[in-house]
Symmetry: D2
Subunit: 430 residues, 4 copies
């Protein structure tokens, strides 16, 4: 996390309450049994998310800084630590799905207990005026927003494993007004060559991995104004893209063969027609909407097949500096669509659609430290830095990302084979 | 299953209602989350047991034989088939733990639906008088009793995986009256040599694997009147039994090393003292009670270390013919202790304690067909026969077995490495 | 091993020289590279066999009993110990294929070194007259004969993995005289019910697992006079035997699906015609010859499909007592065909063909100790006993078994999935 | 590969003969058995290297371009294809160790056959003047040089697996004259900030992954003039570096725990003293020599512990542009030391020691395409591009790299866990 001296700490209490409530709103449609599922190791049970985000505030704020605070339960530190070696032993990630107890109501009681204490803490000027404590509070809020997105994508994966294919939210929202009149696939915006500054430079919050801001040289290139659509991706499938090795990285090809990938995750072919499983249940494939739930391997294979390429993370960031559409066109968690939508954009501009929101965009950049990268001291130094190998950077947020959480310098990262996030494809040329 | 022409079909309705109620009683202390856990592949989620036993009656009685019966849900046949290839595709055994839906209340509604139809069916003489239908009804009842034992052992395993070590039934029953005054470890009963008949010969129910009754030649041997106790097993541990290969089968030794076995399943050493996890929570190790939750490998290693041996399944059965204690000394599911107890027996007899109940007894006999073994036609032919390799026979039932379910000819079977059932050790010599 | 007081020790030297020479004769056609291959964990490199059989004599005879004997190399004890925990650490079985050194010529020099010392030892009456030393010498000879068979089957597997499909012995022997005129498939011989004695009772050598001889009760049954042929097995294949679960044990079915078994090991279909890989290269499938290289799972599935069954090991042994053909009809290692041949038998007899030699016969009996089984003291106690679980007994020897090594009481044992030995099928009914 | 129009084709024949001879010289000390070993999947058997490099010339030059050329053997294309999907099916990489045949002498005969045809081809102006054919010839030569280094590292790994720890070359070369008088660990050279050009720009040969040359912005940094030594690395070990997670990437930490890494590959502690297995057998650890056989994870953990960092690949390349020592100080394959040596350098300069030769240097840069990267058409397009994910770039060559094969723009790449190459550590600061 970053160490900017000044946060709007006066706003902390309001934001704390809003964010905490939002997490619980996301879990409201779930049955108790839904909240303990871990159908693959990447997915965490919703109950665990509810506990872990609470544990974060308890461990890093209340225990060290709130005088007289009593931990809710002596073993919760063991149950809800995610990966902080500094904080002692913990439930193995792959065993999170074995935890039927504590029951869901105890988790909510734990949240109440911590919320009350946090509300007290957020009224204490001694805490708010301590910059390093304020930084951790801010981090806790950002952290819980990250878990909101993970909750949505984990819930989607959990329910998709059930042969009954239940919907998370049964009503399908009316999104037609968001659909584009015009196909933007031939529209490109240009970034001229030059030395640009990338990385976070403001005085708000950013993660440690966005620092330090630094210079990069970028050669001229063009980026597509719209994301690759389901319709375009379907052409790749129908052209045999999944059965011709020449578009694929070697490791991707081997994996695709072994897993028998034939389409993005959640696509289902029934009686010759394509459907997609969504948080609103099984829907007919929307050809105009951006393709999502593709791995990096598929994104790159598509790009190779199309004759274009993916952007690097720095190209993406400079593109966003020069051509981003006003944020209002975004499709974030708050819109509660929980699915990407087709682009709406004035086609006489050079604006690029949906850089923020809709789908994360795979870049062809490894997740590595920026020059001068430094981790925080102590346990929070494990937040980002120790994952900086074997992952790719994704940019821009998705339809499951809280709008206030994302920004152009934000670096998300996943392994090349992951498909359960809302991941999509932006093309470049030259 | 067997095909004896005459069952007491007039009693079917009462037994049906009693057995079905008992299954639900076993699940009553569980939270909804508990009912979906599958922490290892051998364990099935309690919700699945509740559904599968119901599916059995629906599939094999109601759908084919009750006119006008409407299936409760078209996909439940897929969800709750266990292993019957004849009945079509099914959820993979290892994926039973991914089923958060249908919710627990739907499973109970499914049970109500089937119970009502079964109550109707059990009043129809046309069904009851059809011997092959009556045989399947009887099998359904026996099948649900088998799952009652599995429910108890699966629940124990599920809760034991939780770091909070919750108790299934918090109150520890007062079992002191069941404890022995006298240590029977040096008492042995003799079986003289001869040709004996083994296998089921009565006109009640038995499983297909107990047939046909046949002659076997048994050489003279002696069997210990009491099971091996925790105290005796502890001597084996303290003598280094787990670290000396010479007592072990090769495959057992490799497994024990790899899994780092140091004691039976559920034994825990805290501050130098031994405890055991039970369905009543963590209790101090009871040195007089029979050892349980040992694999066949451990049972045989113990026997080798002690200088004695295990019985064959036929020796066991003849022993039961000659020396069984009256059934009243048994410790079955109905006693609701859910844990083995020390022997009570008149020491001036040759009776052998706890042949029935308390713990299953590993025999050194492979699970193979009897001469003239025949499977039932159709799907129910898959009930037992297809498992007849690579497993060992266990005899006698345990503290989790319904009393009316067990008999001396009953053949249970598990792989040599399994420890989550209530398995124990009986010694022989000569 | 057994502890009979009297062996023909005067014959030891001659047998030692003959057997040792035979092992080297088997390896003569191999290239140095062939001798280090371990394409699956069950297979040992021929060089390892050459060393291990030598190590046996060095370890158990020369080091303890020949005064002044100098070990050939201090590390060979580590390299060539197979599985004797008592003899210290060793190369992991799965790593035997990593040993390019010592070079082949060093192994032969090691053999020379040990042979010379053994020839000296076999001239010392002090050794020969010591019954327990004589027993170990005898065991060493038998042990090397066992490895001769393993050498042949391992060599076959090694060469079969090579895309060039090289022949071990290029010339195909003229075996036509061994082919039967008459199809014996409908001929059966009867064993009447009774109590029989099984197990070894003579005063020659036997393994510990053949003891003690004991009584068994056998019900009347009939056994087929000839082994199941390739032609008969082909009918099973063509009738869909590999794709109908109902003939299969559950574990066999899962394995067959996973491994995509469609025929016995070494069968290859080229342009619609069946061939079999043999030690003489690829030959056309001989429909009259006994089927071989089938797992127990396949043997049992075939038996189930045919409406018959497999024998138990005791039925087999009694059958051999009553109906064995004179040994001269056997096809053993010495015939150097290294492949099973069709039966030659007078069809007006009740003799059963090829009980000894040709193919091992899977029985439906687990490999367990006989009553009163005792292991030898010390390391040689690990010879057989520690493998007595999860394996099936095979009887009768094969075309790769030395004739002087086999007898009717001999118990071989393999896991149900193994196919690389010369294993075949004998049917019974009733 | 690159497509420069002009190569010194007049030199091809001489280089061909020299390089081919060198490959065979490397294999000369091996026994036939050594040449078929594949103790881990990354390692290829030497015989396979001998065949594969030959297959390359046969497949890409002789078959398409030499009129009347007859393939040596119809199945060698299957046996010796490495990973070219375009060239049809092939032996699975993990099965290369199952190939005892063809025998070693056949492989050499194959080489002779191809060498004679190549010598003919290299005399035909029609081929030499065809730029795309000339490019493939050049690539074949470079390719064989790459396999020379792999041969040396694979041989080292193969022999190291043998409990006898045989030496590849028994004589230890006298390298004392190469040892430094002075410890350079505190000496650093500076690279000033600026936009630099990286990537290959000459008119000689380069691989496709070195293109296109492009601009990068580099911030000022300092690089250590000497590689990290065994002595320095030993301090890290003794300070507990292998047991403190905080220096490690998460995936590296998990791997190190699971594999129980305590030191670089080939380090052995005997009676409290450290030794290292080398191609000259087991030698005492040389504290002044550069540490080698470390994974990227270990390199980065060391850097983190030391308070410094690794370079990026572009920092390394610019460092080499500004501060490289004259090539003569290098330690390459040709020196036949086959082990890194301590630095010799004038300490009043700013030269950086051993940028080329000695050990490959892990950079903290992922292996990704340069801007404008293009693969060759056809099978050779699979040469590099399809591996561009999940690997790190290494720079500079090692003591096993042919001197004429390496250059400052050369990009080698391995997964972060690999240790069997001669990999080492260069530090940077700022």
């Amino acid at each position: 996390m970053s160490f900017h001296p000044t946060y709007d700490t006066g706003n902390f209490l309001f934001r704390y309450q809003t964010i905490r409530k939002q997490t619980e709103k996301i879990c409201a449609p779930l049955s108790p049994e839904d909240t303990v599922m871990q159908p693959m190791v990447d997915v965490s049970p919703p109950k665990w998310h509810l506990g872990h985000t609470t544990w974060f505030f308890e461990t890093f704020i209340l225990v060290p800084h709130l005088p007289g605070y009593q931990s809710y339960h002596p073993q919760y530190a063991f149950l809800f630590n995610s990966y902080y070696n500094s904080m002692g032993s913990r439930v193995a990630r792959s065993d999170r799905g074995t935890l039927s107890r504590p029951p869901l109501e105890d988790i909510y009681a734990y949240r109440r207990h911590v919320d009350e204490a946090m509300e007290e803490a957020l009224g204490m000027t001694s805490l708010l005026e301590n910059p390093s404590i304020a930084a951790v509070i801010e981090l806790g809020l950002q952290h819980e927003q990250q878990h909101q997105e993970l909750l949505l994508t984990d819930i989607k994966y959990i329910l998709s494993c059930n042969p009954l294919l239940p919907a998370y939210l049964p009503e399908v929202p009316a999104v037609s007004s968001l659909f584009s009149e015009k196909h933007l696939s031939n529209e490109w915006s240009t970034v001229p060559a030059g030395v640009y500054s990338v990385g976070y430079e403001g005085d708000g919050f950013c993660f440690d991995n966005e620092l330090k801001a630094h210079q990069v040289y970028i050669a001229e290139f063009q980026a597509r104004r719209s994301l690759v659509t389901n319709g375009e991706y379907l052409e790749f499938i129908e052209a045999g893209g999944y059965s011709d090795f020449k578009y694929w990285l070697d490791e991707g090809w081997q994996l695709a063969q072994q897993q028998q990938w034939q389409a993005p995750l959640y696509w289902v072919q029934l009686d010759g027609e394509w459907w997609m499983y969504t948080l609103h249940g099984l829907l007919k494939l929307d050809l105009q909407a951006p393709v999502t739930h593709v791995s990096f391997y598929e994104a790159l294979a598509y790009a190779n097949w199309s004759g274009y390429r993916l952007l690097t993370e720095f190209e993406w960031e400079v593109l966003a500096q020069l051509h981003a559409n006003p944020v209002t066109d975004g499709n974030f968690m708050e819109s509660e669509l929980y699915h990407p939508v087709a682009a709406v954009i004035r086609d006489d501009s050079t604006q690029v659609a949906h850089l923020l929101g809709n789908t994360w965009e795979w870049t062809y950049s490894g997740y590595f430290p920026y020059p001068g990268f430094e981790t925080a001291p102590g346990a929070l130094g494990e937040y980002n830095g120790k994952f900086m190998v074997n992952q790719l950077v994704l940019r821009g947020g998705s339809c499951a990302t809280p709008q206030s959480h994302i920004r152009p310098t934000y670096r998300n990262f996943f392994h090349a084979d992951k498909r359960w996030q809302f991941t999509g494809i932006r093309l470049a040329k030259r």
